[in-house]
Symmetry: C2
Subunit: 227 residues, 2 copies
């Protein structure tokens, strides 16, 4: 068997969206290099979920890089002095991690360049999203433009593409897409305040969006909630 699959770097958080992206990229014929980050999340359950998902879905390899974001502070997700809200908030929420997708994509870009890959996948979504500026299509387009000027790959005439297969989908459509690609959503962790076993709070923005997605998709919600 010849090895002619194009390589792709896939950002994998252990959540519902990125699991769907990985399954989609594999189904589309890419050899997938999954990339996760340990950035001071309050729980490690999503990193364990990433490991299991990468293996089960069939990524070529999976790396988890440690980031020093906690040193900078500024978000409820990395700063234990800021409380995770249990009710929807106006505007950009405190769970926003400053420049998170920009940092994640930058590492993906570095790895793609090393692998001589021109393809990066990220599970951003501009429909059922949490109000983060770095999930919008205009942000992704600007990032891709920058990426093509930043790298040898771009300079030497190849094209660096940031793939966002979920960007226009509702949460229900994402779930339907993933189920058609064999994703077991029981393995994914979306909750901002999951416990160490991955059990969800059921109250944070991310839990609300996820539960509504399963309800709208008309499929059973496999999420494990805390008692």
């Amino acid at each position: 068997m010849s090895n002619t699959k194009p390589k792709a770097v896939v950002l994998l958080s252990g959540g519902l969206d990125s699991a769907t992206v990985l399954a989609t990229a594999i189904a589309d014929g890419y050899e997938c290099y999954a990339l996760s980050f340990d950035y001071g999340q309050r729980h490690k359950a999503e990193l364990q979920a990433s490991d299991r998902l990468a293996e089960t879905l069939g990524a070529k390899t999976h790396k988890t890089l440690s980031l020093d974001l906690g040193q900078l502070g500024g978000s409820a997700l990395t700063d234990s002095t800021i409380e995770v809200p249990t009710h929807p908030s106006e505007g950009i929420p405190v769970t926003y991690v400053p420049a998170r997708n920009t940092i994640f994509l930058s590492y993906a870009l570095a790895w793609a360049e090393i692998l001589q890959s021109g393809d990066i996948f990220i599970g951003v979504n501009a429909v059922d999203y949490s109000g983060y500026p770095d999930c919008r299509p205009e942000y992704i387009e600007a990032y891709e433009r920058m990426a093509n000027l930043a790298t040898k790959v771009g300079v030497e005439g190849h094209k660096m593409t940031i793939h966002t297969p979920l960007i226009e989908l509702s949460k229900a459509e994402i779930i339907q897409l993933g189920l058609s690609r064999g994703v077991d959503y029981a393995m994914t962790v979306s909750c901002y305040a999951a416990d160490e076993t991955g059990a969800a709070c059921g109250e944070c923005d991310s839990c609300r969006l996820r539960a509504k997605g399963f309800a709208d998709a008309g499929v059973a919600d496999p999420t494990r909630y805390r008692k």
Copy 2:
């Protein structure tokens, strides 16, 4: 005394260029938050130089973040299996670290957003440079555009500016600028292969550019070379 100085994040490597940038930003009236990275450089002398420079030049604070770039490999500067060349090379050299400035700027962007700062300084140079794609003006412009779409600061109507005060200067002009702002270049380390005391090899691309800069500027070269 009122504290009305605008805050700026300044990328500081411990080399000649970034020391000049820090001195310039301080002279221009910014309260400077200096940011360095421990990214698996072969020597730590430049990090020690950063500490001394931040303190001596008068940065408000200085943080050094650890990056996991070594795990990705791919550059003579972070991968000990690739030799640092002692002669100029054609095209983009092996000392290029993939997406390095993109990663550095992304952390600077995160910190700027947390500090509510709209100003980031970086010492890239498009004249006497080593052929890295992420030192070109078109790259910086694309990064700035992306940064304004990535962040709360940009979204809420402030402007995020990437300042590149050296981008059009020759190495000799950079040295003259820094001397006029009080930089002691004996404290800076430019060599790609400096020893643990910061003594330079005198042979790598970076040493050549630096030595030529002092010669062209007509000032004594304070660099400490290895015997």
